[in-house]
Symmetry: C2
Subunit: 239 residues, 2 copies
DNA sequence: CGAAGCATTGAAGTGCGTCAACAATCGTGG
DNA sequence: CCACGATTGTTGACGCACTTCAATGCTTCG
């Protein structure tokens, strides 16, 4: 389902037939990946990038004591390591949070594409910059928002990003993370995640049950989170 | 002093004479900027990118209550908003922390460069990805490191980055931030920054006086911070 | 059906925040 | 060159958001 990826791009800019064809041809191989698998390992030399077609993955960084931080969640349609095209090795792991399907895109094809279709090159450069903007918003969350506001913000972001690829509505979306994984996204302990979730439910903002997120009061949730989707760059860009 | 910028690039990859010339020609104008000035404002349409030639700047994001988070510090040689070339507007402000001089690089010239010299285009794409890696490391700090480890990590990073551009040694560097600004980098209060600084001094790791950072025990500091410079991508890359 | 992971709860602790006061330094104008 | 207000740095007392520890029940799935 590379359509999710195309949806994601077309949400931000025009994609011509030529460009679409180049994108489709760039995927050399598709693979199934079980939940828990380390898809890309920190520091390893890379020769291709991984496009997530189905499922959720995460970029994670670990400290010695066992502490783990998720620096970005990835949803269908995302390149999980497009930055690997220029960096050639990652400063973090990429792990599958659910059973997933991925498409492998050899760096050689990316290079060929970016030289033959420079505009498509700029589109992908743009997309890595959007990833960086998402990471900056997470910095703001971790540095300045309270636990409940931080969690609210995450829900707003994920639901919005899933909407773009046809996997969520204003009323909710799938949300397959365990509370432990949520805690690794939010820089909190599992215990506090549990209590914060209860507080969000008590305030009738969201419910999270059976890996399903239900948004009861979107305006209230976005207000609590101070969520402004501008950082997702969802409007049309001339590139 | 565009040499800082060239040093920074050459630390990561070869830069040919042609490429160097293109870089030098890309700067249309240089300007002085006083401390405190907002150099680039969140959301404003951009037509050029800003290369920091001298001084310190910061990317900052604000919340409604007045809370402010620095998402990245910029040192001489950095592009403070190279991502603006593809994003066309920023999701954060860029403010001058000291009196600075900058070079303005019109996006038209960047575009021309990236099409005429695709490898230089990849170098700049690479550099925005290094910025993103720095931001990810900050996410790890804010989410998982204690106040003292976080501060130690910041000192390690800044000193290392300044070394690259000839403005620091293993024993220290200029460090012109106030404790308030430091607190905005670290997601702490000013009071706690003050106490944490004292603790670092008490442990004979660093001293910070008169806007000057002295590193007394680099190994100890890096151990406390769990600092591994791999995320700065300081080795030579084939691009 | 048993084991392992996951969710939930309570009690107690602590790292960092808040508030408030004061000292030191800096920049500016007289 | 000094006066003076503003910014920055420092300290103490106290509070709280979040952590830690520990126990219990609930799912899930070989």
């Amino acid at each position: 389902m590379i359509t999710a990826h195309l949806h994601k791009l077309r949400q931000r800019t025009h994609v011509s037939a030529d460009e679409e064809q180049a994108i489709r041809n760039s995927v050399a191989e598709t693979r199934s990946v079980p939940a828990g698998r380390v898809m890309v390992r920190c520091g390893e030399p890379l020769s291709h990038s991984v496009m997530l077609l189905e499922g959720w993955m995460a970029r994670v960084k670990d400290l010695e004591g066992g502490a783990r931080q998720v620096t970005e969640l990835h949803l269908p349609g995302d390149f999980v390591d497009l930055h690997g095209f220029t960096l050639k090795r990652l400063d973090h792991d990429v792990v599958a949070l659910t059973d997933s399907t991925v498409g492998l895109v050899p760096h050689g094809r990316l290079r060929e594409i970016t030289e033959r279709l420079p505009r498509l090159g700029r589109i992908y450069w743009f997309m890595t910059n959007v990833d960086a903007a998402i990471t900056r918003e997470l910095v703001l969350s971790l540095g300045q928002r309270s636990a409940i506001s931080r969690m609210a913000h995450l829900f707003c972001e994920i639901c919005r990003r899933l909407e773009i690829v046809g996997r969520g509505t204003e009323h909710g979306c799938d949300f397959p993370l365990t509370q432990r994984e949520l805690s690794e996204c939010l820089g909190l302990t599992v215990v506090h995640v549990n209590r914060t979730l209860q507080e969000l439910r008590r305030r009738a903002l969201v419910e999270l049950e059976n890996r399903q997120l239900t948004i009861r009061d979107r305006a209230g949730l976005e207000a609590l989170a101070e969520f402004d989707p501008a950082y997702l760059y969802l409007d049309q860009h001339r590139l």
